[in-house]
C-alpha cells in the first residue's frame, strides 16, 4: 500500500514523503526534495555573465564571453549530476538489510546497502549543523570487535534533512521491522 504526506525540511522547504508498505517485513520511504528553483538558477547565471561582461569591457577579449557561457553550462551540468539530489529512498527489508538510494537530478542513482547483521539500531539523534541543532535519523553499525560497541554512525536523508515529525514516522516503521527481526533472530 502506498501513501503520500507533505512535510517540511529544516529550512522550511516542502518535502513529500511517500511510504510503500510491501509486506510486514519490507517497507520503503521516499523523500522528494524541492526541485531546482528557476529563480536561483537565473540569479547565478546573471551574476556570472555580468562579471564576464565587466571583464570583457576591461580586456576587450571576446574569449571571456565564450568562456563564461562554457563555464555556466559545465557548472550546471556538474551541479545536476553531482550535487542536486532529487529523491532519497530508504528501503528496509527484514532479515536482509537496509538500503539507501539517492537519485540525482540528472538521473544518476547512488545506492548503499547495509546488511542486517551489521545493523545495531536505527535512532534519531541530535546534531549541530552550522548554527542550528537539528534532528537526524541514523543507523548504528555494530562493532565486529566489541559486542556492545558501535563502529559507525550512518546518517540517512542527509540532503533532504526533514524535520522531526517526518523522522518520527520513518523511525516508528523501522523500529517495528527491527523489533520483529530481533525477535525472530533471537529464537532458534
Amino acid at each position: 500500500m502506498e501513501d503520500e504526506q507533505s512535510f517540511s525540511d529544516i529550512c522550511g522547504g516542502r518535502l513529500a514523503l511517500q511510504r510503500r508498505y510491501y509486506s510486514p517485513s519490507c517497507r520503503e520511504f521516499c523523500i522528494s526534495c524541492p526541485r531546482l528553483s528557476l529563480r536561483s538558477l537565473t540569479a547565478v547565471t546573471c551574476t556570472v555573465w555580468l562579471a564576464a561582461y565587466g571583464l570583457f569591457t576591461l580586456c576587450e577579449n571576446s574569449i571571456i564571453l565564450s568562456a563564461a557561457i562554457f563555464i555556466t553550462l559545465l557548472g550546471l551540468l556538474g551541479y545536476l549530476h553531482f550535487v542536486k539530489i532529487d529523491q532519497e529512498t530508504l528501503l528496509i527489508i527484514d532479515s536482509l538489510g537496509i538500503q539507501m538510494t539517492s537519485s540525482y537530478a540528472s538521473g544518476k542513482e547512488s545506492t548503499t546497502f547495509i546488511e542486517m547483521g551489521k545493523v545495531k539500531d536505527v535512532i534519531i539523534n541530535e546534531g549541530i549543523y552550522m548554527q542550528k541543532v537539528i534532528y537526524y535519523l541514523c543507523i548504528l553499525l555494530k562493532d565486529p570487535v566489541e559486542p556492545h560497541g558501535i563502529s559507525q554512525v550512518v546518517p540517512v536523508f542527509q540532503s533532504a534533512k526533514p524535520r522531526l515529525d517526518c523522522l518520527i514516522e520513518v523511525y516508528r516503521s523501522c523500529q517495528e521491522v527491527l523489533a520483529h527481526q530481533k525477535a525472530t533472530s533471537a529464537s532458534p
Binding site: 509486506s23 519490507c26 528501503l91 527489508i93 532479515s95 538500503q99 538510494t101 546488511e115 525472530t184
Partner: protein
C-alpha cells in the same frame, strides 16, 4: 496420458496421475527396459515442459542422442506397464520400506499461497533468473542456516534417478567444498490442469529429505509466484509455526559468479562440507555461487545422466582466443622471463656499482624509471601463477600500463622523427640556452646596481656579482663547446622513446636538470653563504644578550664572557647584521630560480607517476563490465501483490571509480615530495638546501 507414479499403491497424494501434455504414452514405453541406469525421458510436446515422473528404466527413445531442447522429444510411444514392483525397485533409493509416504500431508493448497498470518522467520530464497522459465524439477543448492537463506544453484529436471542425483551432488560437494543438497521442488505450470503435479512433487520430499523443504510454484503467464517452506520436525518452541514466510530474491547467476566483492571478505580455510558458513551475509551467496563451478560444467548438450538448468545450460562459455592465449602464455613467459633476468643480471654487475657511476645512476631519474619498469615486467612475466584475484588484476594492470606506455612512446617517436623535427629542435636548443644565460647576466647586473630601490652594500655586491658572472661565462662556453654534438645526442635520445613515454619524459627531466646545472650551482653558493650568515648571527645574538647555547641540555643558558670576547662578538655581529640584506637578496633570487626549475621537473614527475600508477585495466573493466568489480549489492522490489511472497531483484552495485583507483593503484617509483609546506618554509628561511624529490634509496633525515 498420465504417468502412474511409482508404486501404484502409494497413497492418493503421491499416486495421482501426473498430468502432462503431448504424447504421454512415450513415458510408459520407456519404463519397461531392464537397464535401470537411465532415466525415462517422457515425450512431451515440442517446446513444452511438464513434470516428469522420477522413473527408472530404459533410455528414453525420445532423447536418445538428440540435441534438441528439453521436452522436444518426438512422440515416441511409451511402453506400457511398468509394474509397481519394478518401479518401486527402481525408485527406492535405499529405503526399502518407504513405499507408503511417511510424510504427513502438507497443508492444503490454499495455505500455500501467500504468507501465513502468524509472523515467523522469514526464509530467503535466492533464485537465479535464468531458471525462472525452466521446466519443473528439483531445486539444487545450498542452505545457509545462519541467515535462513537458501541459495538455489540449479534445477534438476524430470526424469531422473535419485541415486544419480545424489551421486552428482556428492561429486560436486567433494570438488568444490560447498555443501550442495536438494532444497525443494520447482513447479512451472504450463497448463491449468496440472494440480496433480503438485501432490507428486510433495512426495519427493520423502526421498530427498531436507529441512526445510522449499516448494516454489509459478503459474503460466503470471508474474506472481507461490512459495512455501515446510518443516517436517515438530516445532521446537510453542507458537512457532511449522511453515515459514518465504522471500524470493532473484539474482543473475553469471554476474554473481564473475564478480568480486570489495573489500574481499576473509574466509576461513576450506574444510570439508559447510565450513564456509562463517562468511557474513551476502558474501556467503557470492562465495557459494563462485565455488560451484563444478555444477555448472555440464550443459544441455552433454549426455549426462542428470539434466540441469543453470546459467551455462545453453552452452558452456568459452573463447578460442582465451584458450590460445592460455596455451601460448607459458612459453612466452619463459622466454621473456629469461631475457629480463639476463638484463637485470647485466645491470647489477660490479662495474656499474663503482662510485662515480653509482652516484650518477642514483641521481638520474631515467635510471630509476628503467629499474621500476624492469621490476614490473619481471613480475608480469614470472612463471608463477597468480595466487588470488588481486594479484591477477595487478599483473593485468601492469601489462596494460606498459603496453600503453610503449604505444604512446612509439607515437612520440614517429612524430619526432618525421619532418626532421629533431634537427629543428637541435638547432633551437643552443640559442635557447644562450638566451637563458643572457637573461641571467642581465639579472646579475640588475642585482649589482640598486635592485628594486634597495640599497645594498656596494663592496659585497660587487664581489658576489662578479663571482656569479664568471661562472655564467664558464657555462656559456661549455654549451658552445657541446653544440656540434647536440643533434646526434638528441637523435639517440629520441630512440629511447620506444621504451615508453615515461622513459622519454624522464630523459626530458634529466636534460632539463643538466641544462640548468648552473642555476643549481648558484643556488648552492647563495644558500651556503646565507646559511653561514644566519648561523653566525644567531650565535652572536646570543652573545649580545649575554647568553650561550648549552649543547648538553639543548637550551639557552646565561654565560659570563670576557671583555675581549664581548668586544669581538659585538663587532662581528654588527658587521654581519649590516651585510645581511645583500646576501639575503642574492639568496632569494637564486632560490626562486631554482624553485622554478624544480617545479617544472616536478610536473614531469607527476605525469610519469600518473602513467606508472594508474590501473588502466581495472578502470577499463569497471567501464565495460561493471559487475566484475562489486562494492556491494542493491535490491529492487518487483511488482507485488498482497498475500503473495515478496519478490526482490538483487543487482550488483559496482565499485565507484575513485575506489577502483584507490584499491588497484600500482606502486609508483616513490619519487614524491618529502617536505610539508611548513618544513619547506623553515628550510628556506634558514638557508638549508632543499632536495624536494627524494629517490627511493636515499636516507631520510
Amino acid at each position: 496420458m498420465g504417468y502412474k507414479s511409482w508404486g501404484g499403491d502409494m497413497n492418493a497424494s503421491a499416486g495421482a496421475r501426473m498430468p502432462h501434455e503431448g504424447d504421454k504414452d512415450a513415458a510408459r514405453a520407456c519404463l519397461r527396459l531392464p537397464g535401470l541406469e537411465r532415466c525415462v525421458r517422457g515425450t512431451l510436446g515440442r517446446g513444452r515442459r511438464a513434470a516428469r515422473a522420477p522413473l527408472g528404466a530404459g533410455p528414453s527413445r525420445g532423447n536418445a542422442g538428440s540435441r534438441r531442447k528439453w521436452g522436444s522429444c518426438p512422440a515416441a510411444r511409451p511402453r506400457q506397464g511398468w509394474g509397481p514392483g519394478a518401479a518401486s525397485a527402481v525408485v527406492r533409493s535405499g529405503r526399502p520400506d518407504a513405499v507408503p509416504d511417511p510424510m504427513p500431508t502438507p497443508p492444503p493448497e490454499s495455505a500455500a499461497r501467500g504468507n501465513s498470518r502468524v509472523p515467523g522467520m522469514v526464509l530467503k530464497a535466492f533464485f537465479p533468473t535464468c531458471c525462472a522459465s525452466a521446466d519443473s524439477g528439483l531445486l539444487v543448492g545450498r542452505w545457509v542456516p545462519e541467515q535462513t537463506s537458501a541459495v538455489v544453484l540449479a534445477v534438476v529436471h524430470f526424469p531422473f534417478i535419485p541415486i544419480q542425483v545424489k551421486e552428482l551432488l556428492a561429486r560436486v560437494q567433494q570438488a568444490s567444498q560447498v555443501g550442495v543438497a536438494v532444497l525443494g521442488t520447482w513447479c512451472h505450470r504450463r497448463q491449468d490442469a496440472e494440480e496433480s503435479l503438485g501432490h507428486f512433487l510433495e512426495g519427493l520430499g520423502a526421498i530427498f529429505s531436507h529441512e526445510p523443504w522449499l516448494q516454489l510454484c509459478r503459474e503460466r503467464g503470471s508474474k506472481f509466484w507461490s512459495c512455501k517452506a515446510t518443516r517436517r520436525q515438530a516445532p521446537t518452541c510453542p507458537g512457532a509455526p511449522g511453515e515459514d514466510q518465504v522471500m524470493l530474491v532473484f539474482y543473475d547467476q553469471r554476474k554473481v559468479l564473475l564478480s568480486q566483492l570489495h573489500p574481499p571478505v576473509a574466509l576461513p580455510d576450506h574444510q570439508a562440507g559447510d565450513a564456509v558458513a562463517g562468511a557474513g551475509g551476502l558474501a556467503a551467496v557470492f562465495d557459494t555461487v563462485a565455488r560451484s563451478e563444478e555444477l555448472f560444467r555440464s550443459d544441455r548438450f552433454d549426455e549426462g545422466p542428470v539434466r540441469l538448468s543453470h546459467w551455462q545450460s545453453e552452452g558452456v562459455e568459452a573463447s578460442i582466443l582465451a584458450e590460445l592465449a592460455k596455451r601460448a602464455s607459458g612459453p612466452i613467459c619463459l622466454l621473456l622471463g629469461g631475457l629480463l633476468s639476463l638484463v637485470s643480471a647485466a645491470s647489477a654487475c660490479r662495474v656499474l656499482q663503482l662510485w662515480p657511476l653509482s652516484f650518477i645512476w642514483s641521481k638520474l631519474s631515467t635510471c630509476e624509471q628503467l629499474r621500476h619498469r624492469l621490476e614490473q615486467l619481471t613480475f608480469v612475466f614470472s612463471t608463477q601463477k597468480a595466487e588470488n584475484p588481486t594479484q591477477l588484476m595487478r599483473k593485468a594492470n601492469v601489462l596494460v600500463s606498459v603496453l600503453l606506455d610503449v604505444a604512446l612512446g612509439l607515437a612520440l617517436l614517429s612524430w619526432l622523427h618525421g619532418k626532421d623535427r629533431i634537427g629543428h629542435l637541435a638547432e633551437a636548443l643552443v640559442p635557447v640556452a644562450d638566451h637563458v644565460a643572457e637573461e641571467l647576466q642581465h639579472l646579475l647586473q640588475w642585482l649589482m646596481g640598486a635592485p628594486a630601490g634597495l640599497k645594498m652594500n656596494r663592496a659585497l655586491d660587487q664581489v658576489l656579482g662578479r663571482f656569479f658572472l664568471y661562472h655564467l661565462h664558464l657555462w656559456i662556453s661549455y654549451i658552445h663547446l657541446m653544440s656540434p654534438f647536440i643533434e646526434r645526442i638528441l637523435w639517440h635520445v629520441g630512440l629511447s622513446a620506444c621504451l615508453g613515454l615515461t622513459v622519454a619524459l624522464s630523459i626530458l627531466s634529466d636534460i632539463i636538470a643538466l641544462l640548468t646545472f648552473h642555476i643549481y650551482c648558484f643556488y648552492v653558493y647563495g644558500a651556503r653563504l646565507y646559511c653561514l650568515k644566519i648561523c653566525g648571527l644567531s650565535s652572536l645574538w646570543r652573545l649580545f644578550r649575554g647568553k650561550k647555547w648549552n649543547v648538553l641540555r639543548q637550551r639557552v643558558d646565561s654565560c659570563s664572557y670576557d671583555l675581549d670576547q664581548l668586544f669581538i662578538g659585538t663587532l662581528l655581529f654588527t658587521i654581519l647584521l649590516f651585510l645581511l640584506p645583500t646576501t639575503a637578496l642574492y639568496y632569494l633570487v637564486f632560490t626562486l630560480l631554482r624553485l622554478l626549475v624544480v617545479a617544472v621537473q616536478g610536473l614531469i614527475h607527476v605525469l610519469v607517476d600518473l602513467i606508472n600508477s594508474l590501473p588502466l585495466y581495472s578502470l577499463g573493466l569497471r567501464l565495460c563490465r561493471p559487475y566484475r568489480l562489486a562494492a556491494g549489492v542493491k535490491f529492487r522490489v518487483l511488482e507485488h501483490e498482497a498475500d503473495r511472497p515478496l519478490r526482490l531483484l538483487m543487482q550488483i552495485n559496482p565499485l565507484p571509480f575513485s575506489h577502483v583507483i584507490r584499491t588497484y593503484r600500482l606502486p609508483s617509483c616513490g619519487c614524491h615530495p618529502t617536505h610539508s609546506w611548513g618544513s619547506l618554509c623553515r628550510k628556506l628561511f634558514f638557508g638549508e638546501l632543499i632536495y624536494p624529490w627524494r629517490q627511493k634509496g636515499d636516507k631520510r633525515d
